[in-house]
């Protein structure tokens, strides 16, 4: 089960996820991501503070968005990475590809500096 919530802070989309981002829920997230890109939203913060579990399909969805917004000169930033998702990010060395922040506010702020 994955629940998500989309908020707009100026031109930054904050995407908060709760639950499991895995092979079952990743397709739904991919659809959301397509919508974001169709709306030309290229500054995205993933708030993973309440994400309990992520697998390679879930990472694939985030990496896909990351690659796509970067070609449009945008970026994806990660906030409140903890628990199992933090371990997976570390394992995949994605902590080196993404900017990771302690809070959503810091992540949003970084887009404006």
């Amino acid at each position: 089960m994955l629940e998500y919530d989309k908020k707009l802070a100026d031109d930054v989309v904050v995407f908060s996820m709760r639950g499991n981002l895995d092979a079952l829920s990743a397709p739904a997230l991919k659809k959301e991501i397509d919508t974001l890109l169709a709306e030309r939203r290229i500054h995205v913060v993933f708030d993973l503070g309440k994400l309990e579990l992520i697998d390679s399909s879930g990472v694939g969805a985030i990496v896909s968005l990351f690659k796509r917004v970067r070609t449009l000169q945008g970026d994806v930033k990660i906030a409140r990475l903890a628990g199992q998702p933090a371990e997976i990010f570390k394992l995949l060395r994605l902590d080196r590809a993404f900017d990771i922040f302690e809070s959503v506010e810091e992540a949003v702020e970084r887009f404006h500096t």
């Binding site: 697998d55 399909s57 969805a61 990496v63 995949l92």
Partner: protein
């Protein structure tokens, strides 16, 4: 209208219309020479008929006075000084379009008899004496039902089967004017759509209206019904000709297959009292046989679809397997084992052994993100690229850098690959490891409980960022050491509570027990399977192991078997 005050006006007749001076006439004519209700044009047996309604000046067709006349396209209807041309608009749609379900039929049908379709037809009540005639009748009907069953049982294509069922219904019930079969639009949907229609007369194009109430009754209560239009009784009794009023008696039976309603068969007759109550039992029997044939045809169709999908997958599987090593290498002093277990027929996991110059062996374990045929086919391509780069670059970190560029070149956004590349020098037993976001390599040493996890040196997965650089780490395998490489499917396997098997449990299974490649592989797999239990949520899992055989291991036992000299 071709002549008259309203010349040029077109009147559409759906079922019936009356021409006259009265205000409520559909074709309202303000002319004193026209009677209040002069003539009627209506549909009967699929044809349009004009009738004079007892007018003062008469009704004409092509200038000939008529009381009732079947109209042909182009006929000129004359009412007083007015001339109207009759034309039919071709019903170009599928025949099945002419069947509509309506909530309310003008003449609400009256159910005369029902028959429980779950019952075996032609049952003879045992506590009752049955006359010879009755037995004969039963026997003849059983024969009919059997003959129908023979004719349709082997038709597995619905497009052949349904028309044949309708043909048989016309043979068995000669009074039938129209018959059709409705089936669910998709299995289990409960939404019935007409699938085949047959009419006695080709000229019959009239819309067949079916009462929803009756259909719901047939489906819901799983019984066959015989109905007659309620108003027909009154009209019949009042002495009017029934044939002109579109009166019908009809029978409808559910197609019951394994107690599930697949659809209905429906027949009707425009002649009053065509179907007798005993016919209902026979229809129910034929419907039963038809349902069996429809059910079989449906299963056959599903099977064909599955077979096609299966063939696609098998093709992808063959392509994929052609790129996977046929067997593990046999190199003196080393023992190899490999296990490749895709979650479906095809998977994104892959491994490879690449013979390299100067007595070296490349070992690759990787995982293409994504599943199914696309990931499998990309994997096949990646394996080829990997072999090419492995032969052109000596350092594993340089190979990964080139491979990263190749993955990015595909331009597929959601594509990324985790991969671990190990180069084993057979003479020095040195392993050089380079990791692109993949699960870390683990070395199990000969002593129980002793492991080294190479989780420090790893770069980004392939295909995430351009110009990614990688590092490599060297390790010299000692006698009895096993290099254990795996994909994330092993640690991400989930149990019914959606907990992951995880790295800790995996390492635990590697610590205890024998240190050789096949033993480690078996223990890891069985620990994962025990943890997962019956949960079906599994990813591809791949394990590749290589053990440097311990050349000193047998020495102690040798010493024991050589008897001391003395």
């Amino acid at each position: 209208m071709v002549e008259g005050a309203l010349r040029g006006t077109t009147y559409e007749i759906d079922e019936a219309c009356v021409l006259g001076r009265a205000l409520d006439c559909q074709v309202h004519i303000q002319d004193l020479t026209v009677s209040r209700r002069h003539a009627r044009v209506s549909r009967s047996n699929g044809r349009f008929v004009v009738e004079d309604l007892g007018s003062g000046n008469g009704t004409f067709v092509n200038e000939v006075p008529v009381s009732r006349h079947i109209l042909n396209p182009g006929d000129i209807i004359g009412v007083s000084t007015l001339r109207l041309r009759f034309d039919e608009i071709e019903n170009s749609g599928l025949m099945t379009d002419s069947v509509t379900m309506v909530g309310h039929v003008e003449t609400q049908p009256k159910i005369l008899k029902t028959f429980d379709a779950r019952r075996f037809p032609f049952e003879v009540e045992t506590n009752r004496t049955v006359s010879k005639d009755e037995l004969q009748r039963l026997s003849s009907r059983l024969k009919t039902a059997y003959a129908v069953s023979e004719a349709i049982a082997n038709l597995l294509d619905l497009d052949q089967l349904l028309p044949e069922i309708l043909n048989k219904l016309f043979e068995v019930f000669p009074g039938t004017d129209r018959a059709f079969v409705m089936l669910e639009d998709s299995p289990g949907s409960g939404n019935l759509v007409p699938r085949a229609v047959k009419r006695k007369r080709e000229s019959d194009q009239a819309e067949i209206q079916v009462s929803k109430t009756i259909l719901n009754d047939v489906i819901g209560r799983k019984h066959a019904v015989l109905t007659r239009d309620a108003m027909a009784d009154d009209r019949f009794l009042s002495g009017l000709s029934v044939a002109n009023f579109g009166i019908r008696s009809m029978m409808c039976a559910p197609l019951l297959f394994q107690s599930e309603v697949l659809g209905v068969v429906y027949i009707d007759s425009l002649t009053f009292g065509t179907f007798a109550e005993a016919d209902l039992e026979l229809l129910s029997a034929i419907a039963g046989q038809s349902a069996l044939a429809v059910g079989n045809a449906r299963l056959h169709g599903e099977l064909l679809g599955r077979q096609r999908l299966q063939q696609d997958l098998q093709l992808a599987e063959r392509i994929q397997q052609s790129f996977l090593p046929k067997r593990v290498p046999r190199i003196s002093g080393f023992e190899f084992s490999a296990r490749w277990d895709p979650a479906y027929e095809v998977g994104g996991d892959f491994y490879d052994f690449i013979p390299l110059p100067s007595d070296r062996l490349g070992i690759v374990v990787g995982d293409v993100a994504g599943k199914g045929v696309a990931a499998a086919l990309y994997m096949a391509r990646l394996t080829r690229d990997m072999r090419y780069f492995a032969l052109s670059e000596r350092e594993p970190e340089r190979v990964l850098r080139l491979l990263n560029a190749a993955v990015l070149e595909t331009g597929q956004d959601d594509l990324f690959v985790t991969l671990l590349y190990a180069v084993l020098d057979i003479r020095s037993c040195k392993v050089s490891l380079a990791n692109a976001g993949h699960m870390p390599a683990v070395v199990r040493h000969q002593d129980e409980g002793s492991l080294t996890v190479f989780d420090e040196v790893s770069g980004l997965p392939l295909g995430v960022l351009p110009d990614t650089t990688y590092e490599s780490v060297d390790y010299v395998l000692k006698g009895g050491d096993t290099l254990f490489l795996f994909t994330d499917g092993l640690v991400e396997a989930q149990n019914a509570k959606r907990q992951m098997f995880g790295m800790e449990r995996l390492l635990e299974s590697l610590r205890a027990g024998r240190p050789d490649a096949p033993s480690l592989q078996d223990r890891a797999v069985s620990a994962m399977q025990t943890f997962v239990g019956d949960a079906s949520q599994v990813d591809d899992t791949t394990i590749v192991c290589v053990t440097r055989e311990d050349d000193t291991a047998d020495l102690p036992s040798l010493r024991r078997t050589i008897p001391p000299r003395g």
